[in-house]
C-alpha cells in the first residue's frame, strides 16, 4: 500500500473482481433450487404420512433419492452464497469477516457431505 503515487493510493480499493460471478451463480443455483423445492413440497404433500416406513420407502426409490441428493446440494450451495452476502454486509472487521467466511466454508462442506452420505446410504439400502 503506497502513499506516493496516485495509483499506489487507490490500488486495492476497487471491486474484488469476483462480484458478478458470485451474482450469476446465485441466480443459476436459484433456478435449480426453485425446481427442486417445488418437487420437495409436492412430494411432502403426496406422502401418505410422515412415519418412518413411509418416508424411508419414498427416499429409497431411485428417482426421489437422486432428486433429494440434488435438492440438498443445490440448496446448501445457494445458501452458502447468500449467507456470504449477509456476512459481508454486517461483519466489517477484516479478521472477523475472514473467520466467518472460513467457518461458513467448513459448515458448507460438512453439511453437503453429510446430506449426500445420508441420501446414498438410504438409497443403497445400508439403513
Amino acid at each position: 500500500m503506497g502513499n506516493g503515487t496516485s495509483i499506489g493510493r487507490v490500488r486495492g480499493l476497487g471491486s474484488a473482481k469476483a462480484g458478478s460471478h458470485h451474482w450469476l451463480i446465485i441466480r443459476y443455483t436459484a433456478i435449480g433450487s426453485l425446481l427442486l423445492t417445488v418437487w420437495f413440497g409436492v412430494s411432502l404433500l403426496l406422502l401418505p404420512n410422515f412415519s418412518y416406513p413411509a418416508v424411508h420407502e419414498w427416499l429409497s426409490r431411485p428417482v426421489p433419492a437422486t432428486l433429494a441428493a440434488l435438492f440438498v446440494l443445490i440448496n446448501i450451495w445457494h445458501a452458502r452464497l447468500g449467507i456470504q452476502v449477509v456476512i459481508e454486509d454486517y461483519v466489517h472487521e477484516d479478521a472477523n469477516k475472514f473467520a466467518s467466511i472460513a467457518l461458513l466454508n467448513l459448515v458448507t462442506f460438512a453439511a453437503g457431505a453429510f446430506g449426500l452420505f445420508c441420501v446414498i446410504r438410504l438409497a443403497l439400502g445400508g439403513a
Binding site: M1, A111, A127
Partner: protein, 131 residues
C-alpha cells in the same frame, strides 16, 4: 494513507431508520430474513435425513421434537421462510431483467409477493393437515 479500514469512520449510507417504509423495502428485507430462515431449514432437513438413516429409534426422537410445540413453531417458520423466499426470489428474477421498476407496479408486486408468502404457507399447512 489510503486504507479501507472501518476505523476511519467512512460515511455510511442512510440505513433503515432513515427511510419511509414501502412495500419494496419490506419485500427486500423479508427476502433476506427468509433466506436466513431457509438456511436454518436445511439443517432441520439434514437432521430429518440423518434420523431416517440412523433408524426407527432416532427417527422417533426427531418426530417427538418435530411434533412438540417448539418443533411446530420451527417447522411453520421454516416453511414460511422457504415459500416466501421462493416467491420474492421469483420477484427478483423479474427485477433482474429490468422489468417492474415503475413505482405503482413495483409497489403492487412487492405487496402481492409479501402477502403470497403468508397465504401459500397457510395453504401448504392446510393441505398437509386436511389430506
Amino acid at each position: 494513507m489510503a486504507q479501507a479500514s472501518p476505523s476511519r469512520n467512512r460515511p455510511l449510507s442512510p440505513h433503515l431508520q432513515i427511510w419511509r417504509w414501502g412495500p419494496g423495502m419490506l419485500s427486500s428485507i423479508l427476502h433476506r430474513v427468509s433466506g436466513v430462515g431457509a438456511t436454518v431449514g436445511i439443517f432441520v432437513a439434514l437432521w430429518w435425513l440423518g434420523a431416517l438413516v440412523s433408524g426407527a429409534d432416532a427417527y422417533a426422537i426427531f418426530a417427538k421434537h418435530a411434533s412438540a410445540w417448539y418443533g411446530v413453531v420451527v417447522l411453520v417458520g421454516v416453511s414460511w421462510a422457504v415459500i416466501a423466499h421462493t416467491i420474492t426470489g421469483i420477484r427478483h428474477f423479474v427485477l433482474d431483467i429490468g422489468a417492474g421498476y415503475e413505482l405503482t407496479r413495483n409497489n403492487f408486486w412487492a405487496t402481492v409477493c409479501t402477502l403470497l408468502g403468508f397465504v401459500l404457507t397457510a395453504a401448504f399447512w392446510a393441505a398437509l393437515l386436511l389430506r
